[in-house]
Amino acid sequence: MINILGKRYIFFAVSAILIIPGLILLAIQASRGTLPLAIDFTGGSLLEVKFESDVQPQPSEIVSLYTELGVEGVTAQTTGEGTYVIRSSPLEDEVRAGLVDALSERFDSEVTVLRFETVGPTIGRQVTLNALMAVGVAALLVIIYMTYAFRRVPNALRYGICAILAMVHDVAVVLSLVAIGGIFWGWQIDALFLTALLTVIGFSVQDKIVVFDRVRENTNIYRRLEFEKLVNHSIVQTLGRSINTQLMTVEFILLALALFGGVTLREFATILLVGLFMGTYSSIFIAAPTLVMWENKEWRNWFGRNQTPA
């Protein structure tokens, strides 16, 4: 039988390598105030337009037009053939009403509005706070539910907590991905990203329950077996399902969406692609090993004695 759990510290190291650089990047961005937060969270305006004739104004020209209208914090970038995304502080009603006409007049071209969003600053802050709260509440409820569902095995609470720890791991990977995506592809943390993140959370937990369910079942069958062997056996038994469900089905659909889907869904699909993969990965390589680590109270060997654990 494959011994997955024996190498658990290697997998922990792999995850650390995946997560830590991204988190450092996020911390730097946060301290500089350059987190790629969309207007959904910060408040502001976003205008995506397409110039129908051949004029391709420099982004700086658009910025100066905004500045003349008295708008602050303007950034403009080209996103494709004659299309621009312009972000700024929230627009006043009068400015917004005349803005598209002003663009059209200045650059002498018909302008098509692809997207035009304005979010007030206070509402943005509230959304952020409550999004965090929603995640916290969801995690807590899941722990409670799992403790109930696993009440017939010893230490039921551990299963819920290990599942949530592994879920936090998945969230951290996704956040790292966004930090990198924000730099290279101009990704933004917006409401759709939040939806993706919450999906990752939901499916991560769902996957852990499937694996833990096998542990739960095996606990009653192999009463004499050492806990570590029992968990390893459970992982191997569910491996076929894990690979087939994740890699062969869900990931195919998401890959298709990421590659060929509409522009608006591409970032969303990519995050889910990585996030859901991590959901399966962390069930096997994080959640189950943590459970074993807890059972063996391995942290007692971490410091002081130079013993190699496991």
Binding site: R96, T199, I209, N244, T245, T249, G261, V263
Partner: protein, 472 residues
């Protein structure tokens, strides 16, 4: 009757219902008090349109009267209906916000202007109309024209009451509504002259609305009512008739009652509308989103195609890897998709890009449930058990994992839904609704549909070459 047969009947009934809802031009539910049509609703990120979030313009933390907020929502809804946008949505979100969605609206500024205006309450003279015409107007819910604010511009456009009368009577036979909606009615006074309005009951214990006017209002009212006893005085909010009481007596002192066949709710509604002719709570537009139709349609087509490609690959994989069971799973997934789509149309659920993503993910969940079961069947077969026993054990042992994991997803959906509806984040809300519907249906298809199909097919299954048929 065996359990399998009962399940089979249930499945057939559900499928037939779903097909009835899904077929194009479905007749809907044509009977009952509220006939229902089945339509596929696409969100404004797919068809383009305008979304706005209105917020009570009061200090954060201050207590907001929920009654007043509901009234404000109703008033906004009335205004939005005047824009003539199909499938416009006006919903209260949390205790201080209102979401307005106008799919297909192309002029965001016009739409926002309508949302921002303060409502106008008018008392309009209907003495030129007969009962039938008033009834027609009331039922049609069309906007009427009044001369309020018109007089200075051009009084000559305004037909004299006698002219109005001739036009209406001569055209009643052909199209009474058209001429009525063109008629310009005389506004006697506006909501500015109304001091209070409250619900009371009379001696016969019927609900009434008693009102009090300002001094100016009282004078105008006294004059008008004295001259028009027996005529109708319509109460009009934003040019829409909300009530058309008759004048029974002259009202000299500015105090009167509106009586009629009110119940408590309708009396209260009218009183509130009278009191708050303009919005009961000041509202500001805190968020607007406009999506051009091209972006949405482009995304929709590509994403649908991508989803289809992904699905075909999945179907091939399932059949090649799980053979007979895989085929059943594919059938089961198709039934799943049919039921989910029927629910989307029946409820109806507005489909947004995020909603479609939620649907695709619950499809993953449905596949997962099937795969869990098939892996178990293979395990039991490998352990040397016979086919029937393997099947029973597989379903029995896979069930706790399937149910527990899906309940955890439903819990998350619940939190998402709450978050989405409180903050008017329709993306998040739409996603959680479609995901939750998908998860529930996937439980049904995996545990009932797949199982019934497997049991029926395998009860007469003779081959023992399991490797070939189940892909061990």
């Amino acid at each position: 009757m065996s359990n399998t047969n009962k399940s089979l009947i249930l499945i057939v009934v559900v499928i037939m219902l779903a097909i009835y809802i899904v077929v194009p031009n479905s007749p809907g539910i044509p009977f009952g008090e509220n006939p229902k049509e089945f339509v596929t609703r696409l969100g404004l990120d797919l068809v383009g349109g305008v979304q706005a979030l209105l917020e009570a313009d009061l200090p954060a933390g201050s207590n907001i009267n929920s009654e007043a907020m509901r009234t404000a929502t109703t008033i906004v809804e009335n205004r939005v209906n005047g824009l003539g946008v199909n499938e416009a949505v006006v919903q209260q979100a949390g205790d201080r916000r209102i979401v307005v969605e106008l799919p297909g609206e192309t002029d965001p500024e016009a739409a926002l202007a309508v949302l921002r205006q303060t409502g106008l309450l008018e008392f309009v003279d209907f003495s030129a109309l007969n009962d039938q015409e008033i009834q027609t107007l009331l039922n049609s819910q069309t906007k009427i024209k009044t001369d309020f604010g018109l007089t200075e511009e051009d009084a000559s456009i305004q037909p004299t009451p006698s002219a109005t009368e001739t036009i209406t009577t001569s055209e009643t036979i052909t199209n009474p509504l058209a001429s009525l909606s063109d008629t310009v009615f005389h506004t006697i006074m506006t909501g500015a002259d109304l001091k209070t309005a409250a619900v009371t009951t009379n001696q016969a214990n019927q609900y009434e609305i008693s009102f009090e006017l300002t001094d100016t209002g009282a004078d105008i009212f006294a004059e008008h009512t004295a001259a028009h006893i027996g005529d109708v005085l319509a109460i009009v909010l934003d040019k829409e008739i909300i009530s058309a009481p008759g004048i029974n007596d002259a009202i000299p002192d500015g105090r009167g009652v509106i009586s009629g066949s009110f119940d408590q709710e309708s009396a209260n509604a009218l009183a509130v509308q009278l009191r708050y002719g303009s919005l009961p709570i000041p509202l500001v537009v805190v968020e607007t989103r406009t999506v051009g139709p091209t972006l949405g349609q482009d995304s929709l087509q590509k994403s649908m195609l991508a989803g289809l490609v992904g699905f075909i690959i999945v179907v091939l994989f399932m059949i090649i890897y799980y053979r007979l069971s895989g085929l059943m799973a594919v059938l089961s997934i198709l039934i799943y998709a049919l039921i989910v789509f029927a629910i989307f149309r029946g409820v109806p659920v507005t489909l947004t890009l995020a909603g479609i993503a939620g649907f695709l993910l619950s499809t993953g969940s449905a596949l997962d449930a099937n795969i869990l079961i098939f892996e178990r069947i293979k395990e039991e077969l490998r352990a040397g058990k016979n086919l029937k026993l393997s099947l029973d054990l597989a379903f029995k042992r896979a069930r706790p994992a399937i149910i527990d994991s899906n309940i955890a997803t439903l819990i998350t959906c619940g939190i998402l839904f709450w978050f989405g509806s409180t903050f008017g984040a329709t993306i998040v809300k739409g996603f959680s609704i479609t995901l939750a519907i998908g998860v529930v249906v996937s439980l049904f298809t995996a545990l009932v549909v797949t199982r019934t199909m497997m049991t029926l097919t395998l009860s007469n299954f003779k081959s023992t070459d399991y490797a070939k048929w189940f892909g061990i």
